[in-house]
């Protein structure tokens, strides 16, 4: 049933593999890229940051700079391969995923769904699971050969290739703790290093469940009715931790740490509201033994694994001593929020904390006890070079001002800056050989777009003034706004025009949706159709006695908003629409937006990953009003249905189909006028090699893999 692969999907949809996943070029922007050098340890990088984080504690602080630093201090249970998007085991060595069914009599089974979810009867193999583990943890597999004899095949041997898609008995390496399981061996889509094993049960153990026996509505603990889907795919996870991983103070990382971290995030006094929302569907989580944790969700949610394995920050329990706050969760919450360790964190990642001089610099040094490092020896896991991380020291140097930062680069006081203004990118000095001989200019797209949101339900005016409730008006506005001109004149051409909310290089953007070229005539036609005609001859279109006049709010944090606003104003005034530019202080601006007291606003959305994207928060009608993120009050039943279906869909291919459909729908409806995706611009010193820029991850670059080449070899 799940025998699809990315390759298949790509053929079917006619997209090139490069668009979705695939090798990311190494040193793409470095002129030395063709001169191969052997990676080595040593060296320091000093990277400029425009401001300090407020603490190095991502549980309480969702600032970008906090996460920038913390990603080197801590590892997660698993991580997505930034090239193939397959899940790679990190702190968790292997895991099993199960479907859940709840029967009318209240019996709950975790196992594998063998039939279609909608089939009647449903075939379900209780206890069975899908195992994920690294191929290198496999001693051999045993399969029944053509002669009926059991045959042992080692990975890497020529016969092994024939085992894919076959039912085999796996013989894991003893130290992994993996059980011997029989099942179908499969490579995850696009994967290189890991294996999926779909566990098989003997036919007599498989349950055949008529649909009538599957509960529709569950009752909560005290009899109250709670809507919980009784059949949910991939809703229970059991992860087994890698032995021998230690915190930077030498203590082992255990399952208790994972549970502690989850407890901490769930504590309402802990300032983790931004994380808590990801775990609302987490039904329970528990420690099974010293190295095993189990998570169960009460909804089928495609991100379920991602939020527990990829996004969960794991903290050292022994440093916080929660047992000393027995019975006083509030007290513990306060204790955690202000814990002194958040100024000098202890993690389990490849770098450990050295010092932080507020307002000046943060320094991390390589942690030699990192579990994946083994210099001079064999790799611990094939996807991490045992010499990694190569750089001895990472330093973030705070320099607020951009000119001063550029000077610091030129003087080689800092080695890299990824927060550049287009003016500096275009500056003569940064293009002159004196600079480019020493520095690499990198220009990459990351998942972020700017837009103009059209408020369909302004809170402080009557129904006759809801100008942008009509999709035709919004379409007309998009046709009027000269996006190419804005890109060219304001942003110096450093970006591209986008057609929807999904990252253009990611899987969910439908390539068939074209950028709508500006057209004043078509815009006028649409406005006429919508009833906005200049009835009274004063040069302003009106409808029902109300002039077409709207408020465009901007904030004072960046200069170019005013210029963009003026370009738009000029464009719309040509067709008889009056636009008022309201410039507001940042805090007031935010209040105005959340209170929905505006007609149009230019803002941006960004996210760390182009494949985990969930349009629910921004586009679902339930998120409109009440200060939610759908502050343009976009309400569309079809969009709601697509969003909910995509949320539940665990099959990536189907999810892609649904979200592309949503993309087309949003393009028709134009709740936003989607503007631009601006390039991330960066300079870094040419002596750094093995540099790659990715479309997923906290930052587009990853210092774990950078290394320094001495001057003599350049």
């Amino acid at each position: 049933m799940r025998n699809w692969t990315w390759a298949l999907l790509l053929c079917a949809l006619g997209v090139s593999a490069q668009d979705l996943a695939g090798p990311v070029p190494v040193d793409a922007f470095n002129p030395d890229r063709d001169r191969p050098v052997e990676p080595r340890r040593g060296g320091t990088i000093q990277v400029r940051t425009p401001g300090d984080p407020s603490s190095i504690n991502p549980i309480c602080d969702n600032g970008v700079s906090t996460q920038d630093v913390y990603q080197y201090l801590g590892d997660s249970l698993a991580i997505r391969d930034r090239e193939t998007f397959e899940w790679l085991p990190m702190l968790a060595r292997w895991w099993k995923e199960q479907d859940v069914v709840v029967l009318a009599d209240g019996t709950r089974h975790a196992g594998r769904l063998l039939s279609e979810a909608k089939a009647d009867p449903v075939r379900f193999a209780p206890q069975a699971a899908r195992y994920t583990f690294a191929e290198c943890d496999l001693e051999a597999v045993e399969r029944v050969g053509a002669d009926g004899e059991s045959q042992r095949v080692a990975p890497g041997s020529p016969e092994f290739a024939a085992c894919w898609g076959q039912v085999v008995d796996v013989v894991p390496k003893a130290e992994t703790g993996l059980p011997r399981v029989r099942g179908t061996l499969e490579r995850p889509p696009g994967g290189r290093f890991t294996v999926w094993l779909w566990e098989e049960l003997p036919e007599d153990a498989v349950l055949s469940l008529p649909r009538s026996e599957i509960k529709r509505v569950l009752e909560g603990p005290d009899g109250a009715k709670v809507e919980v889907p009784a059949l949910r795919q991939l809703a229970e996870f059991e992860l087994h931790l890698r032995p021998g991983v230690t915190w930077h103070d030498g203590q082992p990382v255990t399952a208790a740490d994972v549970i502690f971290s989850m407890n901490t995030i769930q504590n309402p006094v802990v300032d983790a509201a931004h994380l808590r929302q990801y775990y609302v569907d987490l039904e329970r989580y528990e420690q099974v033994d010293a190295a095993t944790v189990r998570f169960a969700f009460n909804q089928q949610y495609y991100r379920a694994f991602s939020v527990i394995a990829g996004d969960l920050y794991i903290y050292p329990r022994h440093r916080y001593e929660p047992w000393k706050f027995e019975g006083d969760a509030d007290g513990f919450g306060r204790h955690f929020n202000a814990h002194p360790d958040h100024e000098q964190p202890i993690g389990c990642g490849p770098y450990r904390f050295v010092r932080w001089e507020r307002g000046t610099l943060i320094e991390l040094a390589r942690y030699d006890g990192w579990w994946a490092s083994n210099p001079g020896g064999a790799p611990v896991v094939p996807w991490i070079d045992p010499r990694m991380p190569y750089l001895d020291t990472l330093r973030w140097v705070v320099i607020n001002e951009k000119t001063a930062a550029f000077k610091a680069l030129q003087l080689e006081e800092v080695d890299a800056d990824f927060d550049l203004e287009p003016a500096i990118w275009e500056d003569e000095a940064s293009n002159a050989p004196a600079f480019t001989d020493r520095f690499v200019r990198a220009k990459v797209l990351s998942p972020l777009y700017t837009y103009i949101g059209w408020n369909a339900d302004r809170q402080d005016v009557g129904p006759e003034r809801q100008i942008f409730a009509d999709a035709r008006v919004r379409q007309a506005m998009t046709l009027l706004i000269p996006r190419e001109k804005i890109l060219r004149d304001i942003h110096r051409g450093l970006g591209e025009v986008v057609t929807g909310p999904f990252f253009s290089q990611g899987p969910f953007s439908d390539p068939e949706v074209q950028v709508r070229p500006s057209s004043v005539q078509r815009a006028q036609m649409l406005l006429d159709q919508a009833g906005w005609v200049d009835h009274d001859g004063d040069g302003i279109r009106d409808r029902g006695g109300v002039d077409f006049e709207f408020d465009y709010v901007i904030h004072n944090m960046r200069d170019y908003h005013q210029k963009v606003a003026e370009i738009i104003k000029e464009a719309v005034e040509r067709v008889g629409v009056r636009m008022n530019i309201r410039k507001l202080d940042w805090a007031v601006f935010l209040d105005t937006i959340s209170d929905q007291k505006f007609d149009a606003v230019r803002l941006a959305w960004g996210e760390p990953s182009c494949i985990e994207t969930d349009p629910f928060q921004i586009w679902h009608s339930s998120q409109a009003g009440n200060r939610g993120n759908n502050y343009v009050s976009y309400k569309n039943a079809e969009a709601d249905a697509l969003i909910m279906a995509a949320r539940r869909e665990v099959d990536p291919v189907e999810r892609q189909r649904l979200l592309r459909k949503l993309h087309r729908l949003l393009d028709r409806e134009q709740p936003y006028t989607f503007l631009l995706n601006m390039y991330t611009l960066g300079f870094y010193h040419r002596r750094f090699r093995n540099v790659r820029f990715y479309t997923i991850g906290t930052t587009a670059y990853n210092f774990r893999e950078w290394f320094e080449v001495p001057r003599e070899e350049r």
Binding site: Q46, D52, S54, S55, C60, D61, N62, D222, G223, D249, P268, V269, D271, A273, H274, R276, Q277, E321, K324, F325, E326, G327, D328, G331, H335, A338, H342, E343, R352, R355, R358, G359, T360, E363, A365, T393, R395, V398, I399, N400, E401, T403, A404, A405, K407, A408, Q410, L411, E413, A429, A434, A587, D591, S594, Q617, Q623, N626, R627, G628, N629
Partner: protein, 679 residues
């Protein structure tokens, strides 16, 4: 004069109080709930992801659940226990129920026992009555009173009402309701069961041993018997004895095993939270550190808190490790700096860099001035202890009401203390400025760090401004109308009109690197490797870094003050006594320097009143441009992120300094001008 001073100081205190009330009011009335703001300062994803519980908890944290100015019913132990019991029965809100359960079990603990035991009887009786009624209704469902019974059931147990198709007969209804019997019974028994759970949790591992699924009446009887047998162990006299025995013990167990085997500690833990008030008092009144530690250790054990004023070997080891890390980093930093220097030198000399030729400084040189491990650890230990003491006080401010039934006098003062303003003000007067929402560290620490930087900049800038402005003003007034006066007037006017952000940017562009001059550094107050410099090197480096920001800060002031000086001087020069002095034949220098200047300085003194707050204020623009984490920037950022504790603290300090500045300049007036006297 002293009388005058005293009067002024008293007035100042009064004004400050007024300002604090005003400050507090502004923040209270500003749009947005500070608790939501605090949580929102972190979660940018829209208010919708703030659940009700998070909001409520944060409100409690900042005493926003209390009245603003006067609390007519400050909570006591009895009222708190009653209120928590009510929350325990909140059928609608599970989070709240759980919270109440945890609070009774874990926080109020044994302190609630004598109030909870008498609750058991009525609860069980109530459950029995409701159950009897339920049975009656269920039986009636099959008989004549079916409709009536159904209505009654629906009213009492609406949440559980079966959904049957319309027109279903009585038998169907009876059966449907009968299927719900189990959850209904559970719902009926829930209040009593929850209370039993609380009781068992409080006295665990003691308490009557009850089998699984025991009947309510039986459980009640068992508990009542248990209580009559053990009541004396929770009586005030016994508690006092146990606390006394513990305090007189002299020494706390060093290891966990020792703690587990300690009889006095075991007795104390058994008495539980009832001992908290006595222990807290003992901690406050402790005459020695050992006595304080003894009390704190006991309190930590009964109140389940980690602040036992002890730093164990493990923690000491962690501090030592921290010291090692910093030491290693320092050595590495110095070596790196030496390598860098060697590389530069080699480049300058046109030679190739040879790593083996680098002369590294000796370890002694590197570690000169670096704290010894002992000092470092003892500093960190002292820090930890101070934090523990602070946490205890902070905790007790609210927790006292869980354990004490206050008398009338205390209740009167608590009526003011247990309010939003009372909490804020009581901390303010002991200079506890709270904790920043965003950085989660004490506001005083943040302000002090920033103040050190701002002060350096401003002292130098103001000093320089006066140093140049006064002679310049004198010069241009004496030489009024000459070319020199005109040139200086024009230049100063131009300077005055140059916006500082532009000047700062130009200074950076021109003096800090290619393509123009590369003389001065463009960021921070020290080189990044400044700690590898000698003391003299460090000092010159600091001066070097100060040049540009000070220049950018000074020129505007300079222009303004010298204009003031010129005007003042011109006025004085027109006076009769100056003409007299000139007529007497006094030399020009004496006329200007003695007669004119002293009198002309008076208006300048008025300006000086503003210096104090100015030293503190800092400049957002200059500090941002030159990456100096001064107060201006901190204040600006705190406003952007609505970090209320930080905003209020800075406002209060500025207000205080302004008042002080006015006082100082008033005194200076009297000193300079004999016509003015104190009155």
């Amino acid at each position: 004069m002293w009388q005058y001073l005293l009067k002024r100081l008293l007035l100042m205190a009064l004004t400050l109080f007024g300002i604090s009330v005003l400050c507090f009011l502004i923040v209270t009335m500003a749009p947005g709930d500070p608790a939501a703001m605090k949580a929102q300062a972190l979660a940018s994803g829209g208010q919708s992801n703030l659940d009700e519980q998070t909001l409520r908890k944060n409100q409690e944290l900042y005493y926003l659940d209390r009245p603003t100015f006067v609390n007519f019913e400050p909570p006591t132990r009895t009222s708190t226990v009653r209120a928590t019991l009510e929350e325990l029965d909140d059928e609608e809100n599970e989070a709240r129920r759980k919270d109440a359960l945890a609070r009774l079990k874990g926080t109020i603990g044994t302190s609630a026992l004598e109030l909870l035991i008498p609750e058991l009887g009525p609860r069980v009786a109530d459950a029995e009555a409701r159950e009897a009624k339920l049975r009656e209704h269920l039986a009636a469902l099959r008989s004549d009173g079916a409709a009536q019974a159904r209505a009654a059931l629906g009213e009492d147990y609406g949440r559980y009402e079966p959904q049957l198709p319309p027109g279903s007969d009585d038998a169907a209804w009876a059966e449907a309701w009968a299927r719900r019997e189990e959850p209904l019974q559970a719902a009926i028994e829930a209040p009593a069961r929850r209370l039993l759970e609380v009781l068992a949790g409080i006295v665990a591992p003691r308490g009557p041993k009850l089998p699984e699924g025991v009947g309510l009446a039986e459980a009640r009887d068992a508990w009542e018997t248990w209580w009559s047998e053990h009541r004396a162990e929770y009586a005030p006299e016994h508690v006092q004895q146990v606390v006394k025995a513990w305090l007189q013990k002299g020494g706390v167990p060093e290891t966990e095993e020792a703690a587990a085997a300690d009889p006095e500690l075991a007795a104390l833990v058994q008495v539980g939270q009832l001992a908290a008030p006595a222990l807290m008092e003992a901690m406050h009144d402790a005459s020695s550190e050992a006595a304080e530690r003894q009390a704190a250790f006991g309190l930590a054990a009964v109140a389940h808190k980690p602040w036992d004023l002890t730093v164990d070997a493990k923690e000491r080891q962690a501090f030592a490790q921290e010291w090692e890390t910093q030491r290693a980093a320092r050595i590495r930093g110095w070596r790196e700096a030496a390598e860098k220097q060697a590389k530069r030198a080699a480049e300058a000399a046109g030679k190739t860099y040879d790593p083996s030729q680098v002369s590294y400084p000796s370890e002694d040189a590197i570690l000169a001035g670096f704290a010894s491990q002992e000092d470092f650890v003892s500093d960190r230990v002292a820090e930890t202890l101070a934090r523990h003491r602070y946490r205890w006080d902070d905790w007790w401010y609210r927790a006292e009401e869980y354990y004490v039934d206050f008398d009338g006098g205390r209740q009167f003062t608590r009526g003011f203390a247990q309010t939003q303003f009372g909490r804020w003000f009581s901390r303010l007067i002991v200079f506890d400025l709270g904790e920043s929402y965003k950085q989660k560290r004490p506001v005083s620490e943040i302000i002090w760090d920033a103040f050190k930087k701002t002060l350096q900049l401003n002292v130098i800038a103001i000093f320089l401004a006066y140093l140049f402005a006064i002679p310049l003003g004198v010069y241009s007034s004496v030489k009024r109308g000459t070319l020199g006066d005109q040139v200086s007037t024009l230049t100063l006017f131009l300077l005055y009109s140059v916006p500082s952000f532009w000047a700062g940017a130009m200074l950076i562009l021109l003096f800090t690197g290619p393509p123009f001059l590369s003389i001065f550094p463009a960021h921070h107050l020290s080189d990044l490797n400044a700690e590898t410099f000698t003391a003299w090197g460090w000092f010159t480096d600091r001066l070097w870094h100060l040049v540009l920001p000070v220049a950018a800060l000074t020129y505007g002031q300079l222009a303004y003050i010298s204009r003031q000086m010129r005007t003042g001087m011109l006025e004085v020069l027109g006076q009769d006594y100056i003409r007299t002095a000139k007529a007497k034949g006094l030399p020009q220098s004496v006329v200007i320097g003695k007669h004119a200047l002293r009198n002309a300085l008076i208006p300048i003194l008025t300006l000086m009143g503003g210096i104090l707050p100015m030293l503190f204020a800092g400049s957002v623009i200059i500090e941002t441009i030159f990456t100096i984490d001064g107060l201006g920037k901190v204040f600006f950022d705190s406003i952007l992120s609505r970090d209320y504790p930080l905003i209020m603290a800075i406002l209060m300090i500025s207000a205080f300094l302004t008042l002080l500045g006015i006082l100082v300049s008033d005194i200076a007036y009297a000193v300079v001008d004999p016509r003015i006297e104190f009155r």
